[in-house]
């Protein structure tokens, strides 16, 4: 097989001095020095999270402090990587939430499994589970990253409620419907 030899183009004089390249590089650097910064001093500075961002799934309470989850286990059912695990329990016959009857005894989300798809939030009939703005998780062990109920409520906090479904139910019960 014939071999074709290609000759490299020789450098020009200007190229040989290397100065034009240094100069053009310095110009780019100088331009960027006076531009506004777009990087953040993470983790001291935190980015602004846009609305609708799907961060870590969390459990929320309603403005009256009642835990919204009634452990219907739909999120457990719909969760594609099976990260959610709920043990349902019965609420006491006494107390403010007695009329809700049911609540989670245990609620855990395996954050190592979670894929942040947001199905749990979409399926929740009580609007109790929300993917909020928390996005960075770390831990030293795997167990640490299986978040339990108290941790999930701590992350979730309280969100506004447009329905107050159960409170309305309770007031209807108290008002009664005599005939």
């Amino acid at each position: 097989m014939a071999i074709k030899e290609l000759k490299r183009k020789p450098l020009t004089f200007a190229e040989k001095t290397y100065l034009p390249q240094i100069a053009s590089g310095l110009i780019i650097t100088l331009k960027n020095i006076f531009r506004p910064t777009i990087t953040l001093q993470y983790p001291e500075e935190r980015p602004e999270i846009p609305e609708g961002y799907r961060g870590v799934p969390t459990l929320v309470k309603d403005p009256n402090g009642r835990e919204k989850c009634v452990s219907c286990q739909l999120c457990e059912f719909v969760c594609p990587p099976k990260a959610i695990r709920i043990i349902p329990g019965e609420l006491d016959e006494e107390g403010d939430s007695a009329h809700v009857e049911k609540g989670p005894k245990e609620f855990e989300i395996d954050m190592l499994r979670c894929i942040y798809c947001g199905y749990c939030q979409e399926v929740c009939p009580e609007e109790a589970i929300w993917l909020q703005d928390e996005f960075s998780l770390s831990g030293y062990t795997r167990e640490e990253l299986i978040y339990q109920k108290d941790k999930l409520y701590e992350l979730g906090g309280t969100l506004p409620d447009n329905h107050f479904k159960w409170d309305k139910k309770k007031s209807a019960e108290e008002a009664g419907n005599p005939h």
Binding site: C72, Q73, F77, E93, E101, A172, E173, A175, N177, H179
Partner: protein, 569 residues
């Protein structure tokens, strides 16, 4: 051609224009169901009387017209019979078929009727599906998706009714969810014969309630939970334990008595959550007892055997089986089997006893008081299985005086016990101490404590097999959950032992090869195999055992054979 001419006693009716042949007087809901269509219904139940109060099953009916003057059939111009449809819809559950009847299940009028009924039913419904145990198997959910309007026009205040009412030791009532179908009331009255439920008040204030001072506490109360089409009646045992869509259902057989109630075992990830009845019109219809539903709790009992033991110390399974083999070399060996074990296990146990030249095979009878419905007098679910495989020839006794005297006289020095407590069977602890005992069983008892070798076995939920019930009906159960860690199936242990004493017996470690042998060896089992056995079971010929005075009395679908001679004299 007229119906009489066909001569098969069947008539023609037309469902949405398609001809269907059926017996005259068939219930329309059942008939339409049998051709693969559905008439939605709440109050109708095939095993209860018809009350016709939910109005969900409205259909359009028509009959071939007859001339009033002459009584002759009215014909169209082309000679076909002229069909006269009734102007108003009729309830299908309260209608029985008659020749030439036309049924419209999909017409505009029918659809509007269903929408209307659904709308009324949902007016006062609390919509608490997220906390309702019925969600997932709720007729109200299913039908409102399929036949409902999809939205609500109701803006008034809903009627408030009592919630979280405890009706009895096992049943909880939520009146807001009730659709007033009255199935539970009819069940208590007609099947359980304990008429404690009823409606009070009128109109939308109608409320299901228990008779003052009484409770829904009969042993069949949980059937009301099964037949409740909505979540009004829920089981206290299953309450808030698990959502039904997670549950895997495995057909099984109840071991409470020799009735052999067909059941469904619902489990998730190896844990059983509930047992419900499975319909079998020859055995239990659609019912089962409350006491049978909690039998699954036994598998997690404290005294469940979970480890192999030899001479009182834990041992690996292989070593324990090797130990058992040593005891099989005894010349004076006796076998005590249990009527709670499956046909296959008893067959292998019998083969073992023959191979080991057993000096006597015993079965312990457990007599209880039946309730003439679904609990028979015999607490052994498989007494007839032991008879059929030839483990015993006569009926078992509650005590074993014969074995006791043989132990005393020294004729027996080794006893292989399978799932029985010899102390309960009348053997004293001194007598137990005289012999070597090998115990196979699920739970520990006085016998297992005295045993030289203990081999833990699997419960009915953890293995597959068959039972023969009091009607000589062969019924199979499948494995619902895995057994405790490290436990070997009884059949595998027995097969290993059999291979030791009878080296050419071949592998008999699962039910199928055992059935290949059984169908050859036992004439009753000819042409039967485990895989082809239908879920309803197969009726066997019990003629060979008819002379035996079985202890069962009358139950739901069982009449005992004619009085035994002793009783007559």
């Amino acid at each position: 051609m007229s119906d009489e001419q066909k001569g098969d006693g069947l008539i023609s009716v037309f469902i949405d224009g398609n001809e269907v042949r059926c017996k005259p007087g068939t219930n329309l809901v059942d008939l339409v169901d049998s051709v693969g269509k559905e008439i939605p219904h709440y109050c109708y139940h095939p095993k209860l009387s018809v009350s016709g109060n939910c109005r969900m099953c409205l259909v359009e009916l028509g009959m071939p017209g007859k001339d009033r003057a002459t009584g002759k059939p009215m014909l169209n111009n082309d000679g076909t019979p002229k069909v006269m449809f009734f102007p108003n819809p009729a309830i299908a559950c309260g209608t029985r078929t008659s020749p030439g009847m036309r049924i419209r299940t999909q017409s505009e009028m029918v659809k509007k009727c269903r929408e209307g009924v659904m709308e009324f039913l949902l007016i006062n419904h609390p919509l608490d599906c997220p906390i309702c145990d019925q969600a997932g198997e709720c007729r109200l959910q299913e039908f409102s998706t399929e036949y409902g309007k999809g939205y609500s026009r109701f803006i008034e205040q809903k009627v408030v009714k009592p919630k979280r009412t405890v009706l009895g030791p096992r049943v909880m009532l939520d009146d807001e969810r009730c659709v007033l179908c009255s199935r539970c009331i009819r069940f208590c009255k007609e099947v359980a014969d304990d008429d404690v439920l009823g409606f009070v008040d009128r109109g939308s204030y109608s409320t299901l309630t228990c008779y003052p001072g009484k409770q829904l506490e009969n042993n069949y109360s949980l059937n009301t939970v099964d037949i409740c089409p909505v979540g009004a009646l829920t089981s206290l045992d299953f309450r808030f334990k698990m959502r039904v869509w997670f549950l895997k259902e495995t057909p099984s057989i109840c071991t409470e008595s020799s009735v052999g109630v067909n059941t469904m075992v619902a489990s998730r990830e190896g844990k059983i959550y509930r047992i419900t009845p499975r319909r079998n019109d020859e055995v239990n219809d659609t019912w089962m007892s409350d006491s049978g539903r909690i039998l699954y709790k036994e598998i997690e009992d404290e005294n469940r055997l979970t480890g192999y033991a030899s001479q009182g110390a834990f041992s690996p399974p292989d070593a324990a089986i090797l130990q058992v083999q040593k005891y099989f070399e005894s010349e004076k060996i006796a076998f005590v089997g249990s009527g709670g074990n499956s046909v296959e296990e008893l067959y292998l146990f019998n083969r073992l006893s023959r191979a080991a030249k057993s000096v006597g095979n015993y079965l312990v009878s457990h007599i209880q008081e039946g309730d003439e419905l679904l609990i028979s007098n015999d607490a052994n679910p498989n007494t007839r299985g032991a008879l059929s495989v030839g483990f015993i020839e006569s009926l078992p006794e509650t005590e074993l005086p014969d074995l006791a005297s043989r132990i005393d006289s020294g004729d027996v020095d080794t006893v292989i016990v399978y799932n029985e407590d010899l102390i309960v069977a009348g053997i004293s602890s001194e007598q137990l101490a005289k012999v070597d005992i090998v115990y196979f069983g699920t739970h520990s008892n006085a016998t297992s404590e005295a045993a030289s070798v203990v081999v833990p076995t699997l419960s009915v939920f953890e293995k597959a097999g068959t039972f023969i019930n009091q009607q000589f009906r062969l019924q199979k159960f499948l494995q619902a959950v895995p057994g405790p860690d490290g436990l070997i199936d009884d059949l595998v242990s027995f097969s290993q032992l059999l291979n030791h004493v009878e080296p050419d017996s071949g592998p008999l470690e699962t039910v199928e090869p055992i059935w290949a042998e059984l169908s050859k060896e036992v004439s009753q089992f000819n042409d039967l195999s485990f895989n082809t056995l239908s879920p309803e079971g197969a009726q066997l010929d019990g003629a060979a055992f008819q002379h035996l005075p079985f202890c069962e009395g009358k139950t739901l679908h069982y009449e005992p054979a004619a009085e035994t001679v002793e009783a007559g004299t």
